[in-house]
Amino acid sequence: MITRVLIANRGEIALRILRACRTLGIEAVVAYSEADRESLPVMLADEAICIGPADARRSYLSAPAIISAAMVTGCDAIHPGYGFLSEDDAFADAVRAHGLTFIGPSAHVLERFASKEETRRLLSAHGLPTIPGSGLLVDEQQALDEAGRIGYPVLLKPSAGGGGKGMRMVRSPRELAAVLPICRSEAKAAFGDDSLYLEKWLEENRHVEIQVAVDRFGHGVHLWERDCSVQRRHQKILEESPSPAMTPAGRRELAERAIKAAVAAGYENVGTLEFLVDADGNAYFIEINCRIQVEHPVTEMLTGIDMVAMQIRIAAGEPLGLNQADVPQRGHAIEFRINAEDAAHEFRPGAGTIERFNAPGGPGVRFDSHAYAGYEVPPYYDSLLGKLVVWGSTREAAIARGRAALAELVVEGVVVNTPIHRALLDSEPFLEGRFTTNLLDRVGSAAFLAAAERKA
């Protein structure tokens, strides 16, 4: 039973969690850093508590500050959102040790899936195809041997963390030797863990992920897939579902294999299994995300299921209360990540005060954002300002709504990345549903934007 939740995150996801709590009739307290005092979740919360300064290490990443805030505000659960401490098993364990519920997988589940390299082996043993790769790299010689065995190009990846940090594609032994120490130090700095491994690099691939939900009793369902192939330097920009790259039979088969493997491996709560899909439609499991994801609204639009509410109920020990047949995949949804960054200038992150602001609306349009006119975007955190999600009965209908909604979006005072989204909706590879993860980087974002402008 959860009656009062401390929301230990910021921005749009703090607001999203607040909404889920209210829907469930659960009280919520927003924990915030000094830099977020004027943010929308803080203003809309029943109660808010300042946990530390702008520096995330002393606020959103400080386990003692967050747990203390939950205790003094009388909360019985903590929702970590995404990023920050959301997949930290030591934090989840500390939360439990203080008699509080961690909203997410329990500590031992997080620990089991903490290493990407071990997770790959575990899920491979439970029937998921994995991409050819190495174990953890010990030294340069072993890395070179492994890469030779796998065959270049290879992708060098940190075992911890995500978000493209410390990740490099290399085409030759010389390049591998050169970037190995760089990736190690990047991984160390970003995740406090410098272990790396290698994966075969698929030249033209799509990123397709399967959303799953498993309750404490081992009953699980999948919530279909999301296609996140539109990326820039391994960062997702736009997500959609269903994946234009998969056939109905193919997606059903992949989703069923994913939920089966996740349940068999002992996964719990909501999670996402990520796959790379090659040009021939073969899917390879790459990693699992043990948290609510940024792009979860895409799934909510198609299934009508409130995933954050589901996550809270599972953490509270409730049974899932639905079967696979209760999870429809209706129509088509697209999410555009609206980031405070300048697409024309290497996606430089921006900060400043939003002078004018208008959120798009209308049928099938959802805008999750903590922004408002007068809001000062702090420079300390990630650049996500909001998520525009559109739904249509077909992909074409969703794209048409996307165009209309993007035209309505007004953000002045801070540069946002809407030009890249408009360009995407005018680009042939996207319209034909054949976007691949490296397309934007290969063409170059500037060239991509310029081409779209010429056409306009």
């Binding site: 919360a45 530390g52 003692p64 500050a65 003094v72």
Partner: protein, 187 residues
Amino acid sequence: MPEPHRPSDRTAADRQADHAGLARLSETLVPALVSKLNGSGLGELEVREGDWKVRLRRAPGAPVPGRRERSRAAAHAPAHAPGRPIGASAPTPAEPRDSHRVSALSPAVGVFRSIAAVGTRVRSGDRIAVVDLLGIPQDVPAPIDGILVQVFVETGQAVEYGEEVAAVAEPVEVASDAADADGEDPA
């Protein structure tokens, strides 16, 4: 009662031990503490051993929010958090604050415990109260030299980070004992 060591009455052996102690401090203890501090959510760390005391405090940039920032917070607090128990006694800036009065701020979110009594003469940095962060006391330092004139929070009450918990006023110049305050060490 014997005073703590003074440089003048120390032997060469004492000083030798000091040098060895210093070397050990700088080479092993301090780096270890720095990494501990960085890895923790704490703002300050203090270790005592024999005659030595090492206190590490986080570098500026983040902490010690200025008064301007604070008053902005106070102005917004009621609107943002109606009926919140936290900081219920936080000062609505009813009293005009002059430049001779500075608020001491909570260094953490936790449970407040008063230490120095109102009326106590304090020096900047003196511990006037603590905030228990999961059982670990975090010092509330006096912001300036002066007199502790008000404590806004009762012992046992919850406070948030940066909350004004007490006020220290500079001794008023015209008062007859002001000269004394400047002259002698209050010890």
